[in-house]
């Protein structure tokens, strides 16, 4: 398709939107050019997702106009927006768990696909085009988070769209899948399709976005060509203050052995043993499906695994279920906040105080005022953006939901803190705060097991990195000494290494 440099496909003019207690969007205006990748960055709760949901017809705007492809639009249902050529990948995964991959991609379009055969055949084609090998007949509930993400991308591609909105599509993708996504985005661009790309990962923004808008507190602060921004400037604009370093200095207080784990065996993990020291952040690295999540779930008693031995401070400890784990001083941030992390209709304070009920109950009676204090303390400590601690967690922005889980476990002052993608969807400023909290934990004799798909995060925060490949430990590194290539080689199972 021939594209003109400055043709506007989507023009958002003075759009405002309020929720009870918050003005989520205040006179927002953005123009998106045809055939460009338009990045949108901003703090948690800045209003990015709200704006996108207005475009797709999930929410109705209070005022303002939206012109898409030459026509003023008043979408009142998601269906209308899809018909008009505007597809969206929502921040929270949007797939029906009880249905197959193929059916999910063509949800509501069974007739168009001429039945089940057509559905699966077309779905296969689409998935192949983005190099995703998942079987189309598999149930979505059996997929990993990143596989689900790829299915979502395939679903958005399946509409003949002129504009595709991606709201944090990469928050759970591995680096190879990310490469695949970049390829797809560039292909789409060549076809003249515009993309709105929302992410907290600034590397991505600088890698392939053409124009970047920065949002803060419901306002658009600035819109410029990518090349006109420096990284520092972008961060400053996002958070409203300067952040010198994205990572605090690495805590250096590693002490004696805190925990020994001997031979975890499941059908996916093979004879895994490792130790964790006091004051240490231990990073686990590997591809998705390597077994990182399985390891920590087994440790926390979330999956029933038998036969392994755990010694905490030399004492054998039996962990049969998450309750045992909590009592032994574990904290756990799970991979999927919507499924395993939060009770969405509950209030912020209930979600935060959930793991420390003992702290505010006497003889089985709850003391509401103490619960409130706990909620308020963590909301303040983590700067959770919410109208009040009584607000349902469902109504918070994605990153603020994540902070609630972090706060829940911070309240229990865990000795061994397992973090599976702790900063997923969290903005640069708040990440820094979380890193500081991690530092605080280890400096007080605790230890952290960190899993993250963000390589720099693991490399900058960990004292020691274990690489996992196909359920085996393939290497142990000191990230300050080893090179990235060495570590990645071991994580990909190419070379074994030890430093």
């Amino acid at each position: 398709m021939k594209t003109e440099g400055s043709e506007v496909i989507l023009s958002i003019n003075n759009v405002s939107k309020s929720f009870p207690g918050v003005k989520a969007l205040d006179e927002v205006s953005i123009d998106v050019q045809r055939g460009t990748v338009h990045g949108i960055v901003g703090e948690n709760g800045a209003g990015k997702s709200t704006l996108m949901k207005i475009l797709s017809g999930v929410y109705q705007k209070d005022s303002g106009t939206v012109v898409f492809d030459g026509k003023q639009i008043e979408h009142t249902t998601p269906y209308q927006s899809m018909q008009s050529g505007l597809a969206i990948i929502y921040q929270e995964l949007n797939l029906v768990n009880t249905m197959s991959v193929g059916e999910n991609i063509f949800l509501g379009r069974f007739r168009e696909m001429k039945g089940m055969k057509g559905t699966h055949a077309k779905a296969r084609e689409l998935l192949d085009s983005i190099a995703c090998k998942v079987s189309t007949t598999k149930l979505v509930s059996e997929l990993s988070v990143s596989e689900k993400q790829m299915v979502e991308i395939a679903k958005a591609l399946s509409f003949k769209s002129k504009l595709i909105i991606m709201d944090e599509p990469s928050s759970s993708l591995t680096s190879e899948e990310m490469c695949q996504l970049v390829k797809i985005i560039n292909q789409l661009k060549e076809q003249g399709i515009s993309i709105i790309y929302i992410s907290h990962k600034l590397d991505e923004i600088f890698e392939f976005c053409d124009i970047v808008s920065v949002m803060r507190d419901g306002h658009v602060i600035d819109t410029k060509e990518k090349s006109a921004f420096t990284r520092q400037e972008l961060i400053t604009k996002m958070v409203g203050r300067t952040i010198e370093n994205e990572y605090p200095p690495r805590p250096l207080c590693v002490g004696d052995t805190l925990m020994e784990v001997h031979s975890i065996n499941t059908h996916k993990l093979h004879d895994l043993s490792f130790t964790l020291n006091k004051g240490e952040i231990l990073g686990l690295m590997g591809l998705v499906g390597a077994g990182r999540t399985e390891i920590v779930r087994a440790l926390f008693g979330a999956d029933k695994v038998r036969g392994h031995r755990v010694l905490i401070e030399g004492k054998p400890t039996v962990i049969r279920n998450p309750k045992d784990a909590k009592d032994a001083g574990f904290g756990f941030i799970p991979e999927d906040r919507k499924l395993q992390g939060l009770i969405l209709p509950f209030s912020v304070e209930s979600n935060i105080s959930m793991a420390s009920i003992r702290k505010f109950s006497r003889l089985g009676f709850l003391r509401k005022s103490l619960e409130k204090d706990i909620g308020a303390r963590q909301v303040k400590a983590l700067a959770v953006k919410t109208p009040s601690t009584k607000t349902a967690v469902r109504n918070l922005s994605g990153g603020n939901q994540q902070k609630c889980i972090v706060g829940r476990w911070m309240e229990t002052s865990p000795r061994i803190f397992i973090m599976d993608e702790p900063t997923k969807g969290i903005d640069v400023g708040a990440k820094y705060e979380i890193y500081n909290l991690m530092k605080h934990i280890v400096e007080h004799g605790g230890a952290i097991i960190l899993i993250s798909s963000e390589l720099p995060e693991v490399l900058n925060m960990s004292n020691r990195v274990l690489t996992i490949f196909e359920g085996r430990i393939t290497g142990e590194f000191d990230p300050q000494k080893a090179s990235v290539n060495e570590i990645m080689g071991a994580a990909l199972g190419i070379v074994e290494g030890c430093v």
Binding site: S56, V58, T77, P78, Y79, M82, Q83, Y90, N94, L95, V96, N97, T98, M99, E103, L107, G108, R109, F110, R111, G115, M116, E142, H267, D303, K304
Partner: protein, 320 residues
Amino acid sequence: MNGKAIGSSLYAIVTKQKAFIAILVMLIGMLFSHTNFYSAYNLLDMLNSTSILLILAFGVTMTVVAGGCDLSIGGILVVSGIIAIKLLDVMPMGLAILIAVLFGAVVGFVNGFLVVHQRTEPFIITLGMGLLLTGVAQQLTDAHPVPAKNPAFMMIGNGDILGVPNLVLIMAVCFGLCFWLMRYTQFGRNLYAIGGDYEVALYSGINVVRTKWIAFVLCGTSAALAGVLLSSKLNTGSSIYGEMTALVVNCGVVVGGTSFAGGIGGIPQSALGLLVFGMLDNVMNMLCITSYYQVMLKGIVIVAIIWLDCFTQKRKREFV
């Protein structure tokens, strides 16, 4: 297919379908009993007496798959039966039946309005609707059975074609229709999506309200059809028939493997679930088990099947 594949698919059926196991157990058990369970006559009779429940179950399955349920079917069953019989006196049979069936559609429409459009709790709303209709039925009949005077009407529920009872034939047609609807049409697939995740279905551009609403209308319609057939079979209309029906049918649907949470299950599963009940009744009668024990045994079977179901699912989750 090689032996291993057949084996694993058999395993899948067995672990997924507890109702199927229950039926198998009964079939095998009856091999050793000295009754005429295995006569063609008895098997057809069993199917015949389960047919009406099955027709009810097909409709209910649609609402349950969509994440709802319908407890008003007992009320619809009796009222539509009474309507058909009363109208027989004043108009041609076809028209009377049509009006009775349409009545069910209207009730379903109202249910749908309240549950889907107004977003109320289906369990309570349809329970209330069922009570209301039972009251209406008592009012209409003064709580006495109303006999039908038209022999042609009676023949619908009691006649047969080439030895196959009409009821079984009608049930088979309903089965085929509903199965096709749920499996091979956009409407059916959308029901699964809505039951699986309402919001996702909404965000994916499915007209959730209309689709789920239609499920309630179809459920009401099938319940009314069942009501007409029942009063034809018994040649009377009465307000007392439907008392336990709604519970039995909804329960049978779940026993068959259609989840109350929505999104899982289907017409064949529900058919199996209700066949368990039908066969259990038949078997217990054959074995001359007294009626108190019959009720107890039914309770045990329901609990056992649902428990086994959850048990294996839990096991599976832990294995993953």
